[in-house]
Assembly symmetry: C3
Homo-oligomer: 345 residues x 3
């Protein structure tokens, strides 16, 4: 557990006055990289959440800017197209007064046959101190972390992990749930779990935080999770897998719909979009099975009318735009925490 | 009419000393968005022009930067390729010390099927306080303004409107015309008016300012404007439509050539480029019909040798590069004015 | 020769305290543009190197930022894809506190048929004070320099020149060679010299600095250099051309492998990649012919296993990542030196 002194020290550091020397170190954080959530203890998760609270406070100021990373180079190297994650990291870094370099790898010389390791070494030699990276190959950020001298933040790798998404989701649940905790809460992740790095990272952080997680979707898109669930149960994690939407949604506290990738149609794993929407789409009728104040979430971008009905997406229960804003706060918190480790040693 | 006190207050505010608190409010401006020029009164136009004067003065400084929007997030969301308008807004925002986020929608996840409304909500949740938007669909910025909590600036929508272009054109004319006013001046817009948002926005602001506007081009590319002209005349606006270049150019004070979009050829609305250049191209010979000191304008990018002859484009009468620089000043003025309204309420 | 007073004045100016007025002028630099290295005297080269020393010192600071170009607009206009050169200039400019505008010409309106001259005029009117430009046509930056009112920096034009690469290479050699000079040193450039702007610019600056330069590669890719060598020898420059790797590498002090462009295969000028690697690839065995402490260089991006073996690329003799970091320092130095000339007149 983080004691109160640690947390208030962190809060003090992340909301520095304009005169505070950049490079000050948060107390109690030990990780140089953020590759997935599976290495984060409950104490770590708590420190991220509390640091994000301080960053949310910064975001509410007329000038949402602190000097914590002034003059530090944050390079955003994305091998897959993205708007919200890329911009979220960019805004987070700029709010901390960092200098941001964007590299869209698809249109850069990394397509000229250069190896990933060479690209990472080059980016570091160009001055990057923090590297935010998205790659279509699972595990690519781990390789990057082996050669990069600063901090690597995984912005999504293949089907594997999307740790900042899981952290912003956890933050959003804690913000909205009565009592501020996911402990014992029924959280449903609804959709194509098989191909979802969002599902995989959330599964870890939510079960680690004591939530009762239900994965729900077409059985073809839940393959492999049954075995995980059995292992998870053995180690005290609460985790269910079902293709019954009714079972999943009944009395749920949180329902997170996942984006359906249209390109999965071709693989035969998914019925038509129309059929998917009819069987698994999050409609007002289905949501009525959940608790009256259940929170609706979606990592975006949405296919409205497919995995989520338009009226559900904008209802009072929806926290979808909160997720986006919280994503900026979470990424500010992580950049701040990781930078402290690097600067300190 | 803007009274003198208002204007000097505005001028004072837009050229703040380094110590001025960002968020200071200009006096007399009421619009939160800039969607088109048709909602701007003569007083509004005057305030924009005078604020732009102050911004031109900033541009002439060794360090062309004021802190007015420090820490404010200006997001530039362009659904169509652009260099000059996009960069002009970016430079304007940076000159005001804003943080700028560029989103080229064609290469972002907005192509993944996300609705425009969701994209706008997301951009706002990511921190955008001002949204500069270009879209191929007429009216798209109006939809954006309905859901966006900050200020929307239309950077061009379909054939409909390009208000910052019209304002920079008006500013450039006032700067160059003897007496500093377009009142009673003969202004010719020459080319493909049918598909031109530049023509539509200019038509409004110029007739509102008392200019005598002549649209000239192939009759297929003037369709619909005859009816406008009749309505305009009924309300006291001076507005003519003709396919006779000689009639249009005779004694003109300003001649603005429009860019010919090569892709219009396919539609059959336009003859060949060669034929167009022969009949409607702005050559030195044709320009001789206008007043000796007539101003030559073009919104860019030019097809030299088609709608405008190369020697005319670089002649002493040309104000084409002035238009570009004035565009930065106008956009600084608008960002500044709109930000004041948002901050104030 | 630069006298000591000049150099220490330059060093003092490039490492200004936070209070130093931007726009201060380095002593002894006369060039407004950097188009190629062939216009630089030995004194100029020396001033660039010593200014880069000061910039390297800035790069080692916790906050690698000086205010020298605060508020100045550096526009990076690239007509060819690039990561390292583009980012290197961007980081260099930001380290000097400039505002950076990126224009990737392939995706901008410069593809709409606008002439290069119009684009340059527009970029200047938008506020650019320094223009970094890469273009596939040899000589394009010279045309730009004729119309641009600020400073043009050539970031690579066709096969012609890549002056900042040559300067960072020279800097890296001086940094690593005993005695800090290339004078009398045997420097081998190995690969496709014919299509290489890197080879052409290096050839000039290295022979001007007294190095003994050997170009080595398949004879089809050395065409024309024999004649240069003869002319060079007549004017006292030391310069050899050979297809014998053994002759070239024997007792070399520096070996620079050039990137093989895969697209050259189609032209029939190059054997297969496998055959090229077997005959000309820089392997550990071949490198053993050179002096034991010979420096290995490569402008990147590398085709590992083709022109250079992976173990050679990461050996203790390799200075490839040093080249990248030195590239930032060299570009900071050049932006600083050129800005002083512009500001001064």
């Amino acid at each position: 557990m983080t004691d109160v002194a640690d947390v208030s020290a962190a809060a003090e550091l992340v909301v520095p006055s304009v005169d505070v020397e950049p490079g000050s170190q948060p107390v109690g954080w030990r990780h140089r990289h953020l590759l997935d959530v599976d290495g984060l203890s409950a104490t770590d998760l708590d420190l991220v959440m509390r640091t994000a609270d301080a960053m949310r406070e910064v975001l509410d100021r007329p000038i949402a800017k602190v000097p914590a990373l002034r003059g530090s180079n944050v390079t955003i190297l994305f091998y897959e197209a993205s708007t919200r994650t890329r911009v979220s990291f960019e805004v987070a870094a700029k709010n901390l007064s960092a200098d941001v370099v964007n590299i869209a790898a698809a249109t850069s010389s990394v397509t000229k046959g250069e190896s990933l390791v060479d690209t990472i070494r080059t980016v570091e030699a160009l001055g990057a101190r923090m590297l935010v990276m998205r790659h279509s190959v699972s595990g690519a950020p781990y390789l990057a972390a082996e050669v990069f001298g600063g901090s690597v933040l995984n912005g999504g790798d293949g089907w594997h992990a999307h740790p900042t998404q899981a952290l912003l989701d956890l933050y959003t649940m804690r913000q909205r749930l009565p009592g501020g905790s996911v402990e014992g809460r029924k959280v449903v992740i609804l959709g194509d779990c098989l191909h979802s790095r969002v599902a995989r990272s959330n599964l870890w952080s939510l079960t680690a935080s004591g939530a009762d997680v239900w994965l729900c979707g077409p059985s073809t898109l839940l393959r492999g999770f049954e075995a995980w669930a059995a292992r998870g149960a053995a180690s005290g994690r609460r985790f269910h897998v079902t293709s019954s939407v009714d079972d999943a949604l009944r009395d749920a506290d949180v329902v997170m719909a996942l984006r359906i990738q249209r390109e999965r149609m071709a693989s035969g794993l998914l019925p038509s979009l129309r059929e998917y929407a009819a069987r698994f789409g999050l409609t007002r009728e289905r949501l009525a099975l959940a608790r009256p104040d259940a929170i609706v979430m979606h990592p975006g971008p949405m296919n409205e009318g497919v995995e989520i009905a338009p009226d559900v997406a904008v209802s009072a229960q929806s926290s979808i735009t909160d997720q986006v804003t919280n994503g900026v706060a979470i990424r500010m918190a992580l950049l701040y925490l990781l930078a402290g480790v690097r600067d300190g040693g």
